[in-house]
């Protein structure tokens, strides 16, 4: 049966193979701005591209574009439009036909690039593309589908080929939707804060927060307080300990405001402080209800025990008054 499907579809698209489509023109000439944007986004620091001084010792006089930018110059804009003067033919009509016949999944399989020469600032380029091959129906780990190979030619204004590429796609049959099936993306897990890892030594601390208390370890033998939790007292080596509930009052010993990298799910800037609790131990935490510029070493703060997500309560700290404000807000909501 596969053979029949294969034959039928191949007949349908035969006229779309080996058809050179183009030109697809460039929106802009090769420019320093775009080269810089690319290099900074890709982390490509090759001095050949933008370092005018470096280039004096090379054969290149002007800003030189990274070869891998080849495809970028004549690609569609963000609205999907090709530059003026481009053909209005759809280069990927064959892929659309496959899609309409149930082969809607697409995966890039390989992308072999050949670069013939560097582009220099001011050059205008265009490209042509030809779908050169389509296999019979194949069965892979992704399902059944066709391998389609595209040959792209990248040309300068005087039709000099500066780069070419052979790209292979696998266009495959996607599973039929079941009634009541999940919406696409609905099984993507929401990024949440990482959970502390609990063990015999520290579980009391995290359980305390779930119970609405900030607990500090206290040595049963010499009464020394300690945080973060550890099993043995540093002062007297006793293994016996209990906890006291912290008042939640303290002052900022030091702080930082995190700007980069922005790691989900946190909001940035993210103000973090080391709080000296009035009981005498320090605890690192997030600040709340305060502008970064208002944070000062030595300022008094108080705990705002906060359910930061469904399964996590943390002892955030804010300026005096934050705790009662948070409480009032909570009462209004309930």
């Amino acid at each position: 049966m596969s053979d029949n499907v294969s034959v039928a579809i191949k007949e349908k698209v035969a006229h779309l193979l080996n058809r050179r489509v183009g030109p697809y023109n460039s929106w802009n000439p090769v420019s320093r701005t775009q080269v810089w944007q690319w290099c900074t986004a890709m982390g490509d620091n090759n001095p050949l591209y933008l370092d005018d001084e470096y280039r004096q010792d090379t054969e290149f006089d002007d800003v030189t574009a990274p070869p891998t930018m080849m495809q970028m110059w004549s690609m569609r804009d963000a609205q999907g439009n090709y530059a003026p003067g481009s053909t209005d033919k759809n280069p990927y009509e064959l892929l659309s036909v496959l899609e309409d016949n149930g082969y809607a999944g697409i995966m890039a399989v390989s992308y072999d690039q050949t670069f013939h020469r560097y582009l220099q600032e001011g050059e205008r380029v265009h490209h042509y593309t030809t779908l050169v091959n389509m296999t019979d129906l194949k069965t892979t780990g992704m399902g059944k589908g066709f391998f389609v190979t595209e040959f792209a030619e990248f040309l300068t204004e005087d039709e000099e080929k500066f780069a070419e590429a052979v790209i292979t796609y696998f266009q495959y049959e996607t599973p039929k939707k079941q009634p009541g099936a999940k919406k696409p993306g609905s099984d993507i897990q929401k990024i949440t804060r990482v959970h502390p890892v609990e063990n015999y030594d520290n579980a009391h601390f995290w359980q305390g927060l779930r119970d609405g208390k900030l607990l500090i370890q206290k040595c049963d033998s010499c009464a020394t307080l300690r945080h973060p939790p550890q099993p043995m007292c540093s002062e007297c080596q006793s293994l016996n300990w209990s906890t006291i509930e912290a008042s939640g009052k303290g002052s900022i010993y030091t702080y930082t405001v995190m700007h980069y990298p922005e790691i989900p799910p946190f909001d940035y800037p993210n103000a973090i402080a080391l709080i000296e609790l009035e009981e005498g131990v320090r605890i690192a935490t997030q600040l709340t209800d305060i502008k970064p510029n208002d944070i000062k070493i030595g300022m008094d703060v108080e705990m705002v025990l906060t359910e930061v997500q469904d399964d996590m309560t943390l002892p955030l700290f804010g300026p005096i008054g934050s705790a009662s404000a948070a409480k009032k807000k909570q009462e209004q909501q309930s």
Binding site: N45, T256, M258, H259, P261, I272, I283
Partner: protein, 389 residues
């Protein structure tokens, strides 16, 4: 029995430093070890000991087999990230001078940029047996999860207690980038920065700006350490290990030393500096240059203080007066440091110390006889003095 001057670094080797090595850490390790052996004029079969970082992913047996080795009598690892940069030399010197073995290869290979980036906030797993995770559990839930942010706590205290400013940190970065600019091996070769550019660079974790932070790099560095006796028969000028020590103090933590009486200094270096000098019979005045661990520029300052080049809180003036810069009385990180050359967990700095002693650095600081080297700050760490034989 002292280990002082009983052993020497006789070979150094490295791969190129990059943002994407395109090969495994294992290959990088083998390449660097082979280069270090070649540099020493030795063969794989001459190795009978190895030392590296606990964090290194390349096992000793695998490296040994590939570099033509036959047997190891001694191998050791050192914990605590970049704090491990001096430990392997302590171990090698101890093992060799006690007769356990004769020739130790030390290596560190990492794809820190193309692989797991330490600054990405991804250093977490759910293994309750992992001491890193038990420690980090008190910080990650708040988003307090990058080395720059952890270091910022101390940098902020240092500013508060001694009146230092972001510009004082910036001068460290400017100096390192100046050295890197004339080091073709450096990532920032020919790319110096000005203090104005430092001040204009974006905030990463206040008060740390982009140019206060080291790079993230792929690469490997390796060394050959052997007895001072055997070193005499080899081609290179030996870099004697005049002193070397590891250091953990009561308040040491893994990247989060927030609970000691003072957090503006580096208590591990305060604790070991005296012995680093006395073991070698030297004083700060005898040191010609230094390769100090510079993951973040603010923590170069308290290192200068701990090792007695200036008084507590005065490193900002020492730096401002140009003493750590090109032509200064104590040039620091003439290869460009981890801020300018590459982040190979401090090992590229130790290689530079050896080149300075040999007189082969691209930024040679005159006739260098003695170099102070340090491992990571903010973690259990170590230090050493290398000396021209």
């Amino acid at each position: 029995m002292s280990i002082s001057r009983k052993t020497a670094i006789v070979g150094i080797g490295a791969t190129e430093f990059s943002k994407d090595s395109g090969r495994t850490e294992m290959q990088l390790a083998c390449e660097a070890v082979k280069a270090a052996l070649d540099d020493a004029g030795l063969k794989g079969s001459d190795i009978d000991g190895m030392a590296t970082f606990s964090m290194d992913n390349s096992w000793e047996n695998e490296v040994l087999r590939q570099v033509g080795g036959k047997e190891l009598k001694f191998f050791s690892r050192t914990e605590f990230g970049g704090g491990a940069a001096c430990g392997p030399f302590v171990h090698a010197a101890t093992a060799i001078s006690s007769g356990l073995c004769e020739t130790v290869v030390i290596y560190r290979a990492l794809n820190e940029r193309s692989g797991l980036r330490f600054g990405s906030g991804q250093l977490f797993n759910n293994n309750p047996m992992d001491p890193n995770i038990i420690n980090f559990s008190h910080y990650f839930p708040y988003g307090f999860m990058t080395p720059a942010a952890w270091i910022a706590f101390s940098a902020r205290r240092y500013m508060h207690e001694f009146g230092a400013t972001s510009e004082d940190f910036g001068r460290v970065a400017v100096s390192m980038r100046d050295f890197a600019a004339t080091n073709p091996k450096a990532f920032f070769y020919q790319r110096p920065i000005t203090l104005e550019e430092h001040q204009a660079s974006r905030m990463i974790a206040d008060p740390l700006r982009l140019y206060d932070c080291c790079q993230e790099s792929d690469g490997a560095v390796a060394f050959v350490v052997t007895s001072a006796e055997r070193a005499k028969d080899l081609a290179n000028t030996p870099a004697l290990i005049a002193s070397a020590r590891q250091s953990i103090v009561k308040d040491s933590r893994m990247m989060t030393p927030f609970y000691g009486e003072s957090i503006s200094g580096i208590p591990e270096f305060d604790a070991c500096a005296g012995e680093i000098y006395s073991m070698a019979g030297l004083s700060p005045d005898d040191i010609d240059m230094a390769c100090l661990y510079d993951h973040f520029s603010p923590w170069v300052l308290p290192q200068l203080e701990a090792f007695g080049f200036c008084d507590r809180g005065e490193a900002k003036d020492f730096v401002k007066d140009g003493h750590i810069s090109r032509g200064g009385k104590l040039p620091v990180n003439t290869h460009g440091g981890q801020l300018g050359e590459a982040y190979i967990h401090g090992m590229n700095g130790i290689a530079e110390a050896v080149r300075q002693i040999r007189g082969t650095s691209v930024n040679q600081a005159g006739d260098v006889n003695r170099v102070l080297i340090t491992a990571g700050a903010g973690v259990p760490t170590g230090a050493a003095i290398l000396e021209k034989a």
